[in-house]
Amino acid sequence: MAKGATQGGIPTANIKRKKTFRLGHDLRTQLELMTMLWPAIIIIVIFDFIPMSGLLMAFKAYDPISGFKGIFTSQWNNFENFMTIFRNFEFWPMVRNTLGINLLGSLIGIPVTLIFALLLNEIQNAKFKSFVQTVTYLPHFLSWVIFGGLFITLLNPDGGIVNFLLLKLGLIDEAILFLGEPKYFWGIAIGTNLLKEIGWGAILYLAAMAGIDQSLYEAAAIDGASRLKRMLHITLPGILPTVMILVIFAISGMLNNNFTQIYVLQNSLNMPTSQVIDTYVYRTGLGQFQFASATAIGLMKSVFALALLLGANHLSKKLTKSGLF
């Protein structure tokens, strides 16, 4: 800033002053900036940092009656909370459901969304293209209560279209209670999520595709590259960094289920395959007041999630030279 001023033909006396007085470094400006910044810092400290001290509960024999102060006054209990979790028969199925839904969901979701975006990008008519986009991302804006509720209705054995069609086509003999049978839950969770997010996910890819140098396509076309070849050798490498970022997010979120989705679709009949870490923390923590063990599970989850994030980022940097940080 001061450098720019010297070139502007300002009298010499002024230049000398400019060197010592730097724009914005005065006390009043700094105070104004602080009034803008501090409310957020206070909110972060109160609602984000102070609850972190609650993680101490994971290592203590905590009694909910003792309140917030009890976090600090209760006795250490030698990792007893963690032992209780590992001994719990619900623990491993819950980890399996969490990882299964997320892993399969990403393995199917990322390629399918990518293929959809590649095909959509090949649509020549701009109006039709934007119409397809507008329609397919509508579900992203509906809440999981609504979207999940719609699918509960559609999958209903009594008057739901899925059972109706399957019966009409003769594929099944009697209506299936889809959400009441554990073997269907993973499929329903993965399928509904894909349907809800495919259009929105494609927007990110399409934006990345728009940033690819158009002359590459022209040159390839002159060299006789087919449309498929152009897609594979120009479009796909061009959006690889975007894909990698989404893969990193998917890996780091491997233990993080979409609570809002799972909780809507979950019921006592499909619990064996629908109970995931997040719903378990809610149901035992707030439902049964097992604060200490619910916090201990949450803590374990965060630690593994952080390790996954760092690991995935490292791997991505090594493989494709692009990462999150």
Partner: protein
């Protein structure tokens, strides 16, 4: 495109369009299904499902939902909460980002450290519940507002990428003319950042309107129920009846009041009521979302790509 339209090219184009139409039908149909079913008379639905168009058209279920005091109360809670949080958090987060992005801000590394910590770490559900309880926010309307007043560092990153596009010379000359930081924010940043402000407002509003977690975790009184939470209870209680499972939400007064209107009357049934409630509660989002595409591309993506 370059080159003539070969036979293969045309086949590809036609197949592609067909695939797109199929995907559109699959994504939009569930919504359409519930619209037509909620506009059909309930007793007629019992005779067989309808898929494309109402067989016996009626507004009765919609009218019942829209005149139900429990629903109206919940809509008021959801709506007021959405407006308050969106307006304050977007304006404040933009202001925070402005201050944060100033090159002459002292102690910036501390703000960065606090911000990144808040992005990747949290105490989790139970400690947050205990804190809100301890602060006396549990089961009050404030639990919807106060923790949400700052939009979080993900939004700061998006604002920051956009603010970089504003020429630094504008700020310098305003500063020379004696403008203070607030003047610069309101007179320079706000008018030049309308697309990103609009985009993030839409996202924030959608997120708040669609949220039911805060109600589920941090409230218990009936008069703090949001629309999404009330519909969740509608779905869960009708499920529970159907599946003979444990009664999930049948002890919810507002749900019971609404369902009691469905008994006896043949035009309106529990099922059409549930669908009508779902459709009506998503109308605000359906109206708002086409704007999101425009602003999303202009405000969010361009900013982040320029970087």
């Amino acid at each position: 495109m370059v080159g003539g339209r070969s036979w293969r090219e045309r086949t590809f184009n036609v197949t592609n369009v067909v695939i797109m139409i199929a995907i559109m039908i699959v994504t939009i149909y569930p919504f359409w299904f519930s619209v037509v079913n909620s506009l059909n008379t309930g007793d007629n639905l019992v005779r067989g499902p309808i898929f494309a168009w109402p067989r016996e058209f009626t507004w009765a279920s919609w009218a019942t939902v829209m005149s139900d005091p429990g629903m109206l109360k919940a809509a008021w809670i959801s709506g007021s909460r959405t407006v308050i949080v969106t307006v304050i958090s977007i304006l404040y987060t933009a202001m925070f980002t402005y201050a944060f992005s100033r090159s002459y801000l002292k102690g910036k590394k501390w703000y960065v450290a606090i911000g990144f910590t808040s992005m990747y770490f949290s105490g989790g559900l139970i400690p947050s519940f205990m804190l809100l309880n301890w602060l006396g926010l549990y089961d009050t309307y404030w639990v919807y507002i106060i923790p949400a007043l700052f939009g979080g560092f993900w939004n700061v990153i998006i604002f920051n990428a956009n603010f970089k596009a504003i020429p630094e010379a504008l700020f310098e000359s305003a500063k020379m003319d004696g403008a203070n930081e607030y003047t610069m924010f309101f007179r320079i940043v706000i008018p030049l950042s309308k697309p990103v402000l609009a985009a993030l407002s839409v996202f924030t509003a959608v997120g708040v309107w669609n949220d039911y977690g805060a109600t589920l975790y941090f409230t218990q009184s009936a008069d703090l129920q949001t629309l999404q939470y009330l519909i969740l209870k509608l779905i869960q209680s009708s499920n529970a009846v159907e599946q003979m499972a444990n009664v999930a939400g049948a002890n919810n007064a507002a749900v019971e009041a609404l369902y009691s209107k469905a008994q006896g009357a043949g035009i309106v049934t529990a099922r059409t009521l549930q669908l009508a409630a779902m459709v009506i509660s998503s109308i605000p989002m359906v109206i708002m979302y086409p704007f999101a595409q425009k602003f999303f591309i202009k405000g969010v993506l361009l900013g982040s790509i320029k970087e």
